[in-house]
Symmetry: D5
Subunit: 131 residues, 10 copies
């Protein structure tokens, strides 16, 4: 199985991809609703079609509940994708699911702004609200 | 029939103009509502009045249902218009109809920002919501 | 009667001022609501107080019904004001009335952004909705 | 009584401060609701604490009723403040009251954006709606 | 107990941290609802993890009730944090609580935009409404 | 002779076109070399090809000798071109010659930045140095 | 011979490619050195490698001698490249040679700023001085 | 003698206008050539023609010799002009002469960027080099 | 030997690091001096100190001699650094040497603009001229 | 001796102020002249007049000789100033001297851009060339 096939394989099972855990700390103001926005200006992954690097800015905006995400472990979580072949749409949905699992926020939005390819620009936006 | 007449003819039958198909892939997160925005910074068509090239940025924002559009085939779909004489308003409505036919999204907006002509700038905005 | 008096006279009868007609073409997508925005970056008229030229950007945003305005005739309509002494507020209301009369849109907004005079900037915004 | 004391005195009686009148002209389109925005990019007053000049941009956005404000007299009204020691918050509330008294608009907003002092920037926003 | 431990200790008791009082003056227009926005472009505190300085812009937007905050004492209040080891999220919640205690506004929002660290940017937003 | 022919005629004799005089005042610092830059953000003339208005920003930078140009008369000089059919290149060279004749500066540069036409932008730059 | 081979063939003989002539008009101020800058914001050609459209801004800055280039014919000259498969570097050198042949300027610079491809941006700059 | 006449009178004797002194402090690094740039973003004077306020940004760039200018006294020096009717060109030359007299720098440039009046912008630039 | 030690080892022998070759094509206009600027907006390498990714924009400006660099192979050359632990200063000098070896240009400049780390930004600039 | 007097005392002996050492590493490309620019976006010191914090961006551009400065120790060097009462002009000259002593570069420029105080902005620029 060559590299591109491996990437295709991955896309079919993207929801099962095992990613590093994101650490959290106890929110001292969990009695209040407030908003935290964390922007990673240096996201990079691999394009499954070409095997070449993709670049993006990814912004997470959330209202914490019991826990806040620890910034350093979040950065390391993002670095994990550096060698992963994955579509833009999958990146954003995957990050959303992992983030919700990690800190169970009251609300979270994940937004990705991917670099131009062939004169075309792609942005993807997904969100979650705790019921 | 000269070139300009041919263009006029085309405008009357613009809704019948046959365009290339846009390919799609299966949306693995179709259980969720999320948004994809694709911007073509390099759209070009022909002005039916003068026969000279027109230039525009066209942005498609959609919430996918079962299928996502494949980026490369979308780019080729846009390149098709490069030799087509067509009004700004028609471009946007035509792209909207073709896009809906291709991937049947839950919702889609098509926005075109056309270059200045004679000190005048034109923008056109159309949208669709699945009932 | 001097020039300035003539301008004053005009302001009192501004709603009767006869302006060039704006041509239209048949909207092929009149079964759908979509938006067209036309910006004239090069509007000029005469200040009735000083007799000197005024400059502005005027933006028309409308949802067409049966007819779309023809861009070239709209430009010539605007050029008509180049030698007319008229207040900023009157320009925008006059353009709105003429535009509605020409193409009877479902909805239209007219916005004017006039150049700085004496450290003061004026913007005027008017709109119309078909009942 | 020294200069600073005089300024303090003024703040206590700020609502009684007599300012120049703002002239108006008859609104020919008073049957319609439309918006006029006038921005003074060159507002200046005196800081009551230091006796030094303050600078600001002040923007008035209003829906006229029977009368529109005359631009030249509005400019002269603003110039009056050039030698007045007055707090930022008082400037905006005072201008609002005087403006309402002058032309009795359907609605008006007054916004002031004051220059940085000691690394701190102040903006003040007040509004009025005719009942 | 070393410096970093001291910082950790502080985070656990952050809601008890004693800060300088913020002075106020009587709002002469308390019969009206209007908005004041004060932006500190030069906030600095210490990162509890590294002991190195952090930098941020902090913006407070409030609708005063009986009292307005005095700008100079607010600046000195902010300077207090210059030697305090404190998390971004805590800064904003702490400032919000202190501000509410000082002037009991009808409404207030506190927003902090912290400088990039390791390619990651953090913004925090908290608010309060008097019941 | 129709309008367009008249314009063509004018281009051939452009150096003979009689323009309004530019007034001057005595330079009190003529013992020193210093620079004055005056930018007209609102220049307009007629395109000889189409008869439609052209728009440009024109900037004059000069080192005065015995005389400085009077700003108000310079503005009126520019307004003269509003009804003149003239090429971009001719505008700049004509303004340069008239300016030199009016105040005989030590040095002067005239720069014009004309609005986009058909996706093409034109800038023209001419200068003079007294020998 | 397929399309790509045809493009390769063209690159080898690029200096022999026959292009449309650029018209000129007599420079009435040829006794003076002045500068004209013409920027085409809408240049497009074909990438010989992929057969897909390329986009660029091309700026020509020249000091005319006996002749100035006629703007409309220059625009048509540029439109010719719309269907030509040609490298970025060749475009700029070709335009330079054709421009010099057309109007024999005292000096000319040609600068091209080509759109991003694969995260890489290319600019090319060539010039000519009459000896 | 009315106010405007008084202003005219002043222009004739502008070089004799008595202005506040600018204080200095001893340059501890006078053995080295280095550059200090001080920009006053809030300069204001009176237009002698209209009696209305003018606004400008004034930038002083100098290489100190034995003395540096004291910032607070420089600010007060600028505030003096707030009630002086004076032409743009005179402001810059006057500031230059006063600055040289105050600190006798090795070199100094004074640049003024005055706000738009009637669509026209004026900038003035003067300089001095110690021989 | 751990990862960081390996990185340190590499820095000492950085001039011996073997990198992928950069392909070239024959410059058809080598009889002329012209300039090509290629900017890689998506450079990434590893920080030898932390093992975390670094990001930069790298711009190469050169005057070709017999050969031009082939864009695709240059991109692949840059991708090679993605997994290399290397200092900013070394990146630029290494790229310069490799580029000169590949196409032996008449002149070349390499400029790197690296992302902020700890509130500090680094840019490095190196160049070569053929003798 | 109060705090302000202590600051004054310091200014007189500023050239004797003991600052932390800046570490260096061996320049592997010292056979070549290349340029490194390091910008500290987060410089802060104390204003000796008011005792309040000052903020600035400081940029060092140098051509290394045998040694390059180590970035982390440079940052710590800058942090030292956080509690030092010192004039803008002294900061830049002091940093220049310390930097030269640390790495003895072929050439270095130090530039500081200090935040607005009282509507006035100060920039200071100093440089050194090895003889």
């Amino acid at each position: 199985m060559n590299q591109t096939s491996a990437y295709d394989e991955l896309q079919d099972h993207i929801r099962d991809l095992k990613t590093p855990s994101i650490e959290t700390w106890e929110n001292k103001y969990s009695d209040k609703e407030y908003t935290i926005e964390i922007t990673n200006l240096e996201f990079s992954a691999i394009c499954p079609k070409t095997g070449l690097p993709d670049y993006a800015t990814i912004c997470i905006t959330y209202i914490p509940d019991k826990d806040c995400v620890e910034l350093k472990s979040l950065k390391e979580y993002f670095v994990f994708f550096r060698d992963v072949g994955i579509f833009h749409e999958h990146v954003i949905n995957k990050v959303l699911e992992d983030f919700v699992a990690a800190c169970q926020p009251r609300k979270v939005e994940v937004f990705g702004d991917f670099n131009i390819r062939g004169g075309m620009k792609t942005k993807v936006h997904a969100s979650y609200v705790k019921e």
